[in-house]
Amino acid sequence: MDFDLGPEELAFRDEVRAFLDENLPVQDLRAWQRKVREKRWVGFAWPREVGGGGGTIMQQVILKEEMAQRKAPPLGTCFMGLAWVGPALIEHGSEAQKQRFIPDILDSKYQWCTGYSEPETGSDLASLQCRAVRDGDHYVVDGQKIWTSLAPIAEWMILLVRTAPAAELGKHSGITCLLVHMKSPGIEVRPITNMSGGQLFAEVFFTQVRVPVDQRLGEEGQGWEVTVGALANERSSIAEVTALVRRLEELQELAKRSRKHGLPAAHDPRVRRTLARMATQIEGMRLNGLRFLTKQLKGEPLSSETSINKLHRAELEVAMGDFALELEGLASGYVGSGPEAIEQGKWQRTALSWPETVIGGGTPNIQKNIIAERILGLPKD
């Protein structure tokens, strides 16, 4: 066992640190994005041929970790494009598709959204019904998507449709992946207001929407591999851990300022135990991440190990926001910028926004199914 970085890794870390010293805090977000783009840190994991950075696994970890430590702004704002669309394009896209879309993703020119969930299709993604029929050199799409994050502001959607009935070959076949411009005739977006007041997700309706065949990603019927392939593209996420460490520090400060039974809350045994337990769970996530990273560095593919840290993260996302409100006591009722609200209602927002990560990335119950079936080998539902 050895937790040190090698000389080349240290040199890279120093390069990142020097860059962050020079550029943080960020005054002009656009200028920051241009600079990190010039460094090729946007799409850092992607091959250099498509404009990515070709970073090694360790360099990716170092870059994310250093940025999270310093609370640097994101490298790009095309969140779905960087997370899902780009990797799928690199793996399955034609030359023309790569040239058309990847540079724009790297430059954060516009937003992408992911058209996966449907009213009857949530966790059971493969049961989707939104239909596309081939008509010459177009597909004609009819159906509905829902819970589509960023749909109200996105310019493009990566869309899963059914091009053949699920019956014969099993429900994972007959699914096709299309890239659809959101201004196409026949698309209607109806934003959904979430419980914290945001309108970032939406219902999307498709009526006779014509999509050129050259906007199909991968082969017809291969859509499951294209998208699940992208889902499998996950990395052990050390940077998320650093963000949780930072949040726990803030929670600890809140405990020191809050009162309980007429004393500082930080004196209360249950408060102390809860915070120490959270610190331990976060450290456990960090070390799990390093163990999985070691496997990757040895060239062993990660299978479902990332579900372990996803479950920890889900638990912490919910618990930390909730515990903050407990610490604030009666003052936790105040929100917004009023005189009684603590930190402008920051923790109230945290306590109401966890579903974005906890449900959005596959619910905890689904993660438990994945662990039980793929790792423990228990029979499928």
């Binding site: 970085l5 135990r273 070390l287 040895k298 080998g377």
Partner: protein, 372 residues
Amino acid sequence: MNFGFTEEQELLSAQARRLVQGSGSLAEVRRVSRTALGYEPALWRQLAQLGFVGLLVPERHGGAGLGWVDVAVLLEATGRGLLPSPLLSNLLASAALAELGTAQQQAEWLPRIARGELIATVALLERDQSIGPDGVNVRVTGSDDERVLDGEKAFVHDAGSAALFVVAARDERGVGLYLVERDQPGVEAPSHALIDATKRMGTLRLSGVRIARAAVLAEPPRGEAALARLLDAGAVAVAAEAVGAAQAVHELTVEYAKTRRQFGVAIGKFQGVKHPLAEMHVEIETAKSLMYYAAWALDAAPAELPRAASMAKAYVSDAFARIGIDAIQLHGAIGYTEEYAAQLYLKRSKWVRPQFGDADHHYERLARLGGL
């Protein structure tokens, strides 16, 4: 960056696991745990011949000269099979001798420990259960040439079979560590019945026991830091055994869920069974990460040891306690029988929880270390 094991460590693990499956099988564990001695002398000799007993003993004294990560690998494997033996005690006592002992003390004791000829243990805690220097109240009087120990050390692992004790005791200068032999006048050390029959633990009574200069292992107040490190090492060692045991009972339960059929299907198909098993897996993998890291800290990062050891022991104690109970529940009635193995692991989880500090103790310590 490498948070994995060397080839040698993988071999050590495989070797220990083979031993547990063979001569240390659960049928044998049950037989041995009913004997007065509590371990099988032939198997103990085998453990010594394989180099396990002297794992932490330097090579010049006949040991393997390995470190705590190797100990973690070994104890995780022996913990899987609940192997009844004074291995953990011997490893802790040999570490104390190797780290603190004079050349003469090491030459006198370590070769015999490594050969398995002599069982040694640590006697650090007392009846008030305070895990740390405040809990040390066995008195040291007399002169530096001949000190006298009086008092009682409680919860001493393998008290009944140990011939040598590393004893924490206090004089006006603070805590020191002293070597006490069973056959000295004024020493009495019986083991008592435990909830976990595969373990042995008891009380060390000291009445006017004379300690020569040559038997002082750590002078006060240097003994205080040595005591803290031994307590952390003990916490990590118990956690390593517990992680192996938790994994074994989890595997047993997963296998049962795959084969036991109710309502026409294997019960592992039901999410009411599947999800607790997945949660156990999450806890075991996380417990492993924390425990391996704490073992590494014992070897390589003393400044990180208190935090790492407390995190490992706190997390493992809670996780194993829950896994022990859930394993029985998921089995149903068969899990409640004496005949079935699950109960042996439940009993181990009860024994593990308070050893070298329970989760409350370690989380409180973490709160203090974290500035609360």
